[in-house]
Amino acid sequence: MTSTSVRAEFPNPVGTPPAPRQRARIRALGLPASFLAPAAILLGIWLIYPMVATVVRAFFDDRGDKFVWFENFDRMFSDPIIHTAIKNNVIWILVAPIAVTAFGLLLAVLTERIVWASALKIVLFMPLAISLFAVGVIWRIMYREDTEQGAINASLKVVHDVFKDEGVLPDARPSSDAVSDRFVFTKQLSAGDTALLGLTAISPREVPEGSTQAVEPQSTSGAITGVVWRDFSPGGGTPGTVENGELGIPGVTINLLRGSNTIETATSENDGSFEFADISGSGYRVQVAPKTFAQPYGGVSWLGASLITPSIIIAFLWTSVGFAMVIIGAGLSAIPRDVLEAARTDGGSELQIFRRVTIPLLMPVLTVVFVTQMIGVLKIFDLIYAIAPGSVQNHATTLAFEMWKRSFSGQNNFGLGAAIAAFLMLLFLPFLIYQVRSQRRNL
């Protein structure tokens, strides 16, 4: 600073060699320059040059020889797949950073109360050391749809089967018009009537054990009787009539309906017969209970078009929550104990203290975690590539992913790719400003 004022008072005559003081300054700059040179060269060539070049490239066509003004941006904002990418980016940004921060906070607070906190921290932190690609493979194994193969769907099936039995005849259909699509015998019944509930599309394997020849029901006064049977004999037979060689279906639940209410249920015998006794009047219908036809639990399509982004976000939480927990945990242990003690002595409940004291004191740490996650989420690429099957990539895509896809997956649309990258950079700008500002405060 002093040297500038000296120089202002005694300006150097043009053409004379630099004064010794100036030479000293150049030497003084030469020293830091030699320390900074390797970093400066690398940053210049690998970060600053490409940033400028990408923005310039965004205004040229895909081959790079024609200046096309904003054409690439027009293409970008009118492309339905890029619309999906932007929509997914919004979902990611709204969901993932908040979820990671909130979950991390919860776990950080809870781990303060357990003895094995350090073990849990290592377990939750571990995924951070694994490549996102391997994390993707891990979750693709978890998300396999077949309940025999995917662990998540297998667990869901266990839960599902506790509450809902699998049907005896998942694929059966009515054999004739006498039975409706909802398996109701179409004729209204009165006491003494019979119901013939013929079903087809039952493979021999599916016929329940103990099944015997079906028996044509006999009219019984004061009762409704009927039979439920496999209305199929080799050679075909006549639909709707019980014939020789056709088996009764045992163990099927039959509902007796009046109006739309089920007023009684019966279970079929080995020959398929059933009976509702003590019936008077008319206006009844008979139905094979819908649960007979319940499909076995098929599992959730985690990797299908509609769930793919939530599925990838779950995998992301698995990798990131440990980071949030450790950072927030460090912040928690830095809160002076006497502040919390004072709040307790003043009679604050734990929840009040948490909301009024802990959270405000943690705010800087929470902000750091939140912002770090925002930045990470905008860059996400590996997880999408590894988890989304090729056929649903267009449903899972984000801007960072689409930038790669348009430029490098064989499409070679460098103009469009550069436009996406430039737009992405624009989204990063607020974070850049935030970083610079928070660091200037610390200088």
Binding site: I45, A129, S333
Partner: protein, 291 residues
Amino acid sequence: MAAAEVSQPAMRSDATFRNRIANAPVNFFLLLIGIAWLVPAAGLFVTSLLPPEVSNAEGWWNVFSNPSELTFDNYSQLFDNDQITHALFVTAQVTIGATVLPVLFAALAGYALAWIDFPGADLVFVAIVGLMVVPIQMALIPMFTLYNKANLYDTVPGLILFHTAFALPLGIFLLRNFFIGIPKDLMEAARIDGASEWRLFFKVVLPLGLPAIAALAIFQVLFVWNDFLIGFVLAQDNTPIAPTLAGQLRQFGSNLDVIAPASFFSAVIPLTVFALFQRYFVQGLLAGSVK
């Protein structure tokens, strides 16, 4: 921390007992969380040990009723696969190069920014902090073109230099902030004794900055070893392990005997580094994010 732990046993025992009861649900909940975190990783490990006809057809948990199915065959085949062993070799080379270089360059720059007084130092530092946010996607197209012209495409040096450059902003940030905490008296004393800046850097700053340097190095080993995108775009035959496996994703479900052991093995090295140097890594993260 230590003080709080010491004072615990002094608390009245009925209070401790009540705490234990209140903590039972917390312990249970956190146990579930721990299991939820371990199961997916265990799934990959078990899958990697199953013969293809088993792993491709049924769930890995069936192994608990039939443990005789476990085999190391997948792993021995993995190491007979030239493509995979070459990829692992490339990954190791890139990781070493892209850890040593950025640590060295970031230490030099960090030292200059922390301890050499020159006009504009703060401005340079703030600019570097800004560069921390720049996404890799921003550099891909121009560098892909440039690499093809400069014969750096598909080379180990090309990958090392790219990683080095992108590691520098965080590295300089971490090290500058750590170096600036070295006591001023120490530096002044060394300067008065006539030590040159270079001597000061190698004899005082580097040894004292070792914790931060270790943290950065570990962070960098994990980051480079685990990279997918850079190797995927800038190499073809000399790709690191993750991009090498990318092609396998297409037949996912029929090739678990290849992709599962390869993924698991590729995770073993960073996991080991993490387990051994966990403390440094966490400290580095803390230094980087909680300022």
